[in-house]
Symmetry: C2
Subunit: 622 residues, 2 copies
């Protein structure tokens, strides 16, 4: 077992087909910027709230019962074990950054409990242990034994990397060995109804260097699409993974599977896997994604809809699906170094992931609609509590997605105020990103010889400028990396100017609820119009925005923990005549109404105040 500090959430230090190597957790330290505020909330509020919920929902008690430390029945959903595992993963990421006695104690208790609940032969699933101990592996399609195992492995790897203990990793390995003894060529066939174990097995392989875990991940991926678990698209069992042309079925399942495929690719470099992923990625981005990066549009089956099926009010866009999209895109980025993956990862983080959690870290969205008529509020913990701890583990590790390295040097993918420290470079990054266009990088220490610092120039950026020690760099292109190869010295500076002009977007005409409408963005943030910010009496659903008039920016420190607001010209129409009719013959002129000033806020920050109508897509005036 590798005792050297392993690299981040996904460890590509030794991956044969990775163009980018991940950095250890402590290589990037966020300072007082955008993401550090979220990490603080996550540590102080969300993790403690989450632990209380694990107690109250019975998820912890299930382990105590399975361990024989308590009597009782199984509580909660049959995959409740994964709630604890995801929380443990989040808590471990937090511990990797900052010692916190309270978190450490809860983590130690949980690890001890999990170890105590494990069966002699390594099996571990409290639902089956409590309710049906002889029924193991009898319903791969609907139950979640392998899914929960995957989350255990991810938690164990995070715990091992964050602490000096291999206590949970040993539990994970014993369970993985148990599973490996059951499944595989010549043994039991099948695939998990809910993918997750695939990516987790690859990470377990990276941590323990046991080939059999990688092979088992490949086995589960290869077993799909053969009808072994019913043949339905819902479970991605309708087509072999290498023949897929579009994302299909349950969105989280689809994207966890794709992340697992990417992990296998990183290790073995099978081109057919990459080709399939490329097709699916392209189809997702051009036909099945909300402008926020939200994916899985359909409530029914929590699934990808048909091409262009992207409603506003009833779009599903489960928070977990966007997290899964980030996970997949991260792995694709590690494999290829292509900017498009980092672009989508960032866009999804800012708009599709953190929209799923309130600014105080304790209230959540399961679906992330793009329109509200004033009746949509965030909730606390859900009965099916997949999203909250998924947000927690994502926020706790978000700094890990900022930077990678390779033989040429360093790649900066995400911008925030941070210190980056590797063997041969120490950089300070100062920025008010995503609010302000400037990013200043200062070299504090550099080794000898030429090193490339690659800076992502986001695709959304109109006229990016890069200066090295004050001298403007030529040929800068949005949607690509700017590679600066120098013999860096302490005191060198790199200045990025990524102009964040408000941009109105239109949608493909097949996205029919957006016909005649526009959405507003600035920098990496999608904006929305919430009723509370508009002049009294304004109905944002009946309002049109003037796309020809200038949009003005205004920082509001006191609003929603501090946001850049955008002010646009609009036209409000009088809707008082509508109360008793749903449809009426055209009579009143279409154009006309009262000119008003509209105010937009970042989409992620909506639904943090009183209930109010909200739109992302607003009618275009004229």
């Amino acid at each position: 077992m590798d005792r050297t500090p392993a690299a981040g959430v996904v460890d590509t230090l030794h991956s044969a087909h990775a163009l980018c190597r991940s950095l250890p957790f402590d290589a990037v330290k966020l300072r007082d910027g955008f993401w550090s505020r979220w990490q603080k909330i996550n540590r102080r509020e969300a993790l403690t709230y989450g632990h209380t919920q694990l107690v109250e929902s019975g998820a912890l008690d299930n382990f105590a019962v399975a361990a024989g430390r308590k009597t009782g029945t199984f509580q909660n959903m049959r995959f409740a074990d994964s709630d604890l595992y995801k929380w443990l993963e989040a808590a471990s990421f937090e511990l990797s950054r900052q010692r916190d006695a309270w978190i450490r104690q809860r983590v130690d208790e949980a690890v001890d409990l999990i170890a105590a609940a494990q069966c002699q032969d390594g099996y571990l699933n409290t639902y089956y242990q409590i309710t049906n101990p002889k029924g193991r592996w009898t319903n791969l399609r609907d139950d979640h034994e392998l899914y929960c195992a995957g989350h255990l492995f991810q938690a164990a790897v995070a715990h091992f990397r964050a602490t000096d203990s291999d206590a949970l990793l040993r539990v994970a390995q014993r369970f993985a060995d148990c599973i490996d003894g059951v499944f595989g060529p010549g043994r039991m066939r099948g695939a998990p109804g809910h993918p997750e174990i695939e990516l987790a097995l690859v990470e377990l392989f990276r941590t323990t260097h046991q080939d059999r875990y990688l092979k088992l991940a490949q086995f589960f991926i290869d077993e799909r699409g053969q009808g072994l678990i019913g043949g339905r698209a819902y479970h991605q069992d309708h087509v072999p993974v290498r023949d897929a042309t579009e994302p299909a079925g349950h969105a989280v399942r689809q994207l966890y599977l794709l992340a697992g495929m990417a992990d296998v690719y990183l290790e073995v470099g099978e081109q057919r896997l990459m080709d399939a992923m490329d097709r699916v990625w392209h189809d997702m981005c051009t036909r099945k994604m909300s402008i926020t990066g939200g994916v899985g549009a359909r409530h029914e089956g929590e699934a990808f809809g048909e091409s262009y099926e992207l409603p506003n009010d009833r779009v599903y866009n489960e928070t977990c699906a966007q997290i899964a999209s980030v996970m997949w895109n991260w792995r694709l980025l590690l494999a290829t170094g292509e900017c498009r993956y980092a672009d989508l990862l960032e866009w999804t983080l800012y708009n599709g992931v953190i929209s799923g959690v309130s600014l105080d870290g304790k209230r959540f969205f399961y679906p992330n609609p793009l329109l509200s008529r004033g009746n949509i509020a965030r909730s606390g913990w859900f009965a099916c509590a997949c999203c909250p701890p998924n947000v927690m583990r994502t926020l706790a590790s978000v700094h890990n997605y900022a930077v990678t390295r390779n033989d040429m040097g360093l790649q900066i993918h995400l911008y925030d105020s941070m210190r980056i420290e590797t063997a041969d470079l120490r950089l300070e990054v100062d920025t008010d990103y995503p609010w302000q266009p400037g990013v200043n990088v200062r070299v504090d220490e550099a080794g000898s010889g030429d090193t490339t610092i690659s800076l992502r120039i986001p695709r959304w950026c109109g006229r990016p400028i890069v200066r090295v020690n004050g001298a403007q760099v030529d040929g800068i292109r949005a949607g690509a990396y700017c590679d600066l190869r120098h013999s860096w010295r302490s005191g060198d500076t790199i200045e990025l100017d990524l102009p964040m002009l408000p941009v109105f977007h239109e949608a493909h005409p097949f996205v029919e609820p957006a016909r005649g409408c526009v959405a507003l963005s600035r920098g990496p943030l999608v904006y929305c119009f919430e009723g509370l910010d508009q002049p009294a009496g304004t109905n944002v659903l009946g309002t049109a925005v003037d796309t020809a008039a200038a949009v003005e920016e205004s920082w509001q420190d006191e609003l929603l923990s501090g946001v850049m607001t955008l002010r646009a010209r609009g036209i409000a129409r009088d809707h008082t005549g509508w109360s008793q009719e749903l449809y009426r013959p055209l009579g009143v002129p279409e154009i006309g109404g009262t000119p008003i000033e509209l105010k937009a806020i970042p989409y992620f920050a909506w639904a943090n105040r009183e209930l109010a109508p909200m739109v992302v897509w607003m009618r275009r005036a004229g």
Copy 2:
């Protein structure tokens, strides 16, 4: 048992709280008009196709197995019995109008088989009889014993009224008595998960004059909303029926329940039932209905959505839900004589019901979307085959909804070429409705004394004119009945002119996929734009219609069995640039594009040719 020719589908001859009495089946005879074409197709094509499907799907065999005439297992959905019952009801309606040896023979065989399958004690449900004979009544919520019983009762009443045989009615009564022996005050409690038996029991009461059937219908209605079957809105068990304020849950269940409530109201006149129905009706019409009269917008749970949740592409609008809406509105009309119910009934028939069946009667829509990107086709029989035979029984009895009578005289609700014959009036109605605005009524025979002929003036009609013997009648108002009280003589004429001007409609701004869009109607018909009828290269999703330009009418005899088409001016935009993007910054001017001529066809006639995109709501130019 009343052997006099009973009155129509819903017999209100003796209903204490009916303002309109239904007429016997043979009182109205359709001639070569709009509905007679549909009835011909229904008899010649749909009924024979349906019978083949009953054989192939195993629905008939289930009865043979239950009767001990065959061996085998239960086939198809657990409510497959109702497929046969609905087909039998349709076939009986056809027999009531025209003797057809083939139909009569199939009906006789089916009745014989059903009678043979009935248990000694009257119980009859082939699913339980074959698979779980001791399990009767153990799952009222999810299984469909009472639902199937209701369809048996409706079929039996129709069969009795159409033939001189009470063979099926006796089966129905034996089963009803069996159910009455199990359920009721002091006996077993509960309500059916799928309403239907309530309205059927009231009709059985009307036919047999056995009070206990009416009381049992009331019992099942009163048992709802008390959590006896789970307390979910899906089953309308979340609130007592008298406290309902909006339609909720599974749309067909909700509307069959409301129809049953209306039937009970017709008999007992309980004002609280009418008050609740009035609230629900108002909420449905002002917040939860597509412009086609389609109801139950949500795929998930086949349910009513939230207020204004009315998508275009994914609207559910199950054909059965619109049929159920017609059934409910018919009963409300019988109770109150209010024009609004007849208006909605007609609108729903033309736009929401017959959209569910192809022009050749053999291919169906389960959901009725308002938009297609070119990938939506009709199907043959469904695995869950509720809609096809439901359409058949509706078409076979549609003439029954045209006319009623009361002590004052006759009420004409629907217009078509027909002969109306009652004890004291014989009328000939000549019209090309719904294509042409003129309706000519000629009195062929009249009794002595004053009689009122009431003519519905549809709500959609702008400047209606009524002439009696050439003299214009004053004070004609749309959305109300024109009551003409005279001592009618043979040769008297009434001429209606119901101008059918093309009308553009806009939707309430909360109906957000229709923001900035208009829908087109003419007379009682909603129109749509199908890609096939537009200039080559036109994408109806990206096209805008000029609502200021004149819309021209043109009858096309050879198109879609003959339809009035509408031609409008439009603006086509070039969408070739869109292939690789889902969203893009506004760049090209919004207004502009190529002027084109658009052609609209009645919505009900779409999807009868090759696959093509279709929109009901089209963007408004300007």
